[in-house]
């Protein structure tokens, strides 16, 4: 009671130092949004003010788009209180919008306007936009091919790795036979198999699927195995005294207890398989983003390369986000898991 009234008195008795507290609050809440808007206006102006040094068709549209984003940033943050969660999210990201606008302005000026950076190797933003608008079908085909290959190989590798890991962790006999093979073959980078795979498999697509599965399978196997092996025997004791049969011990004790490890394996496998995917596409498969990169390089189409890289990084990041979302769903019982 006494502390309550004390703090109460302090709050009301504290002298106001600022002459216009609403101004301070406003600057704090919307200042970044206004600055972000200014940065994007600068970007738009940088597009339209000077003539391009090269021949790009999307400069004008890009400048307009920059103004539109500037307007959204301004009204979105100033009026955030009326926009609910979207407004709050925008406000929170305003500093990033400032940085992005400034970076784009600099990029635009340094490439398209004054060519401070050597031109074919450092394409301006509008030429990348041009790729997305004019070369879209080919890019989409590549995305589709990559996703298909990656998804198939990854699912096969993850499934086989998981089953192998559980079997080794559970059965001594399986461990006896599989463990040495795993030790011998596992650490070999999957890409080392590439030359052999491409002439032993009937198609380059099946060869790549195999390699991606291999790259995924190894970490998933090892981590599933270590997860199953490290399950406390106390859990088994409890389950056995309650009448559990061996199948229950595997499915309802070992596997759920090992799941956090399994997800580490799935995460590592995903990273490893991306690398294999790109290399396989560059060398053997005549489709996919890796192939697109290779093709773009052959034509010295640097804008296409950057465009493809951006898409690729979005896809990889999206895949990992998806994996983490699944993990968070399945492992709600864990406290303090890392947010991706």
């Amino acid at each position: 009671m006494s502390t309550y009234s004390l703090s109460d008195g302090l709050a009301s008795g504290a002298p106001r130092t600022s002459h216009a507290p609403w101004l301070a609050t406003w600057v704090q809440e919307s200042g970044a949004g206004v600055a972000a808007s200014a940065a994007w206006i600068a970007f738009g102006l940088s597009c339209l003010w000077w003539e391009d040094v090269g021949d790009w068709s999307r400069t004008h549209s890009l400048g307009i788009a920059a103004f539109v984003i500037a307007a959204i940033a301004l009204f979105g943050t100033v009026g955030a209180d009326y926009l609910g969660p979207a407004g709050r999210a925008l406000r929170q990201r305003a500093p990033w919008l400032i940085a992005l606008g400034a970076f784009l302005t600099l990029w635009e000026v340094a490439t398209a306007k004054f060519a401070w950076l050597p031109l074919p190797f450092f394409p301006p933003p509008q030429s990348i936009i041009e790729v997305y608008t004019d070369d879209l079908p080919k890019l989409l085909d590549s995305v589709f091919a990559s996703v298909k290959l990656q998804l198939g190989g990854y699912l096969i590798g993850a499934t086989i790795g998981f089953l192998t890991g559980v079997s080794i962790g559970w059965s001594r006999a399986v461990g006896y036979w599989v463990h040495p093979v795993l030790r011998f073959i596992g650490p070999l980078p999957a890409t080392a198999w590439l030359p052999i795979a491409f002439f032993t498999f009937p198609s380059s697509w099946s060869a790549s699927t195999f390699l991606i599965a291999l790259a995924t399978g190894f970490p998933v196997t090892v981590l599933t195995w270590s997860g199953v092996a490290s399950v406390s025997t106390a859990y088994y004791d409890v389950a056995r005294t309650l009448g559990a049969k061996p199948s229950f011990l595997v499915l309802k004790v070992a596997i759920p207890a090992a799941l956090p490890h399994v997800f580490v394996g799935l995460f590592m496998g995903l990273g490893a398989s991306f690398a294999v995917l790109v290399v396989a596409e560059m060398i053997g498969v005549k489709a996919g983003l890796g192939w697109y990169l290779q093709w773009a390089q052959g034509w010295a189409a640097y804008a296409n390369m950057y465009a493809a890289l951006i898409v690729m990084s979005l896809l990889c990041s999206g895949a990992i986000t998806l994996l983490f979302a699944i993990r968070d769903r399945l492992l709600v019982w864990q406290k303090g898991t890392v947010k991706w």
Partner: protein, 265 residues
């Protein structure tokens, strides 16, 4: 409501079983050397008795409980539940370990349901899980995960997980050892009332002579490792018992003497 839960639970209750431990010896191999842990232990437990096992730390009490549970086999000697030899674990003999060992990936309800699920009878017997949770007063926490529980609550869930199987022999390995003294006293009272209502045979390992005397109608004192039965003491006192009861105080002095603590206490 709790009364209804009791009635529900009692409907399934089976009375306690007799437990015969006959000339049981056990030893562990540690790096080739043999470590004798139990030496010709014989105890005949009547159906429905609550027997406390006391002994120096590391003498082999938990080992004996694992043998009774059927988790390990003795080197020599036999253990029988109602004249039937114990060879493997069975849900009629359920253990509550010192650590609650709840499955962290299961909710409280799912943890309690474990035994029925493992035996494949959960579908038709879901009400028994609810009744067991009522019994330990944790119905409001059915959807909580173990990391959200306090130590005492977790131990109560472990108790519910055991009781839901209607064991004939309840095996308690220092179940209250890690609880604060207040929770402990409350749970001691709960244990006695549960045991009185359900009538299961109970083996209770404890390191606390007072706890043994407040709860048990028989106290068995073991020697240092390898454990031998040093004394078998009847505690003929009605429940609820008083901690200050001079009769119990006298027994306590006697037991502490057997444990080699007479000078200090």
């Amino acid at each position: 409501m709790v009364e209804a839960a009791f009635a529900e639970a009692i409907a399934h209750a089976a009375a306690g079983a007799a437990l015969d431990i006959e000339q049981v010896s056990h030893a562990f191999d540690i790096d080739g050397a043999e470590l004798p842990v139990l030496s010709e232990v014989s105890i005949a437990v009547e159906p429905g008795e609550l027997v406390a096992l006391l002994g120096p730390s590391g003498c082999g009490k938990s080992t004996l409980l694992r043998l009774v549970a059927g988790l390990d086999k003795p080197k020599t000697g036999t253990l029988r539940e109602d004249e039937v030899r114990i060879r493997s674990p069975h849900p009629s003999r359920v253990v509550v370990f010192q650590d609650p060992t709840l499955f962290p990936w299961r909710t409280v309800w799912d943890n309690v349901a474990l035994g029925l699920e493992a035996q494949g009878i959960l579908k038709s017997q879901r009400h028994r899980v609810d009744a067991a949770l009522d019994l330990v007063g944790l119905s409001d926490f059915r959807t909580a995960y173990p990391h959200q529980l306090s130590g005492g609550m977790a131990q109560r869930v472990a108790l519910a997980r055991a009781l839901v199987n209607d064991p004939k022999i309840l095996i308690l390995d220092e179940p209250l050892g890690k609880l604060d003294s207040l929770t402990r006293i409350t749970m001691q009272a709960e244990l006695v009332s549960l045991w009185q209502r359900k009538g299961f045979t109970t083996l209770l390992v404890t390191h606390d002579a007072e706890e043994a005397l407040v709860l048990a109608n028989r106290v068995i004192v073991f020697s240092e490792r390898p454990a031998r039965v040093k004394a078998d003491i009847r505690v003929d006192r009605p429940y609820p018992r008083h901690r200050g009861d001079p009769y119990l105080a006298d027994l306590r002095r006697q037991i502490l003497g057997l444990l080699g603590l007479d000078a200090t206490w």
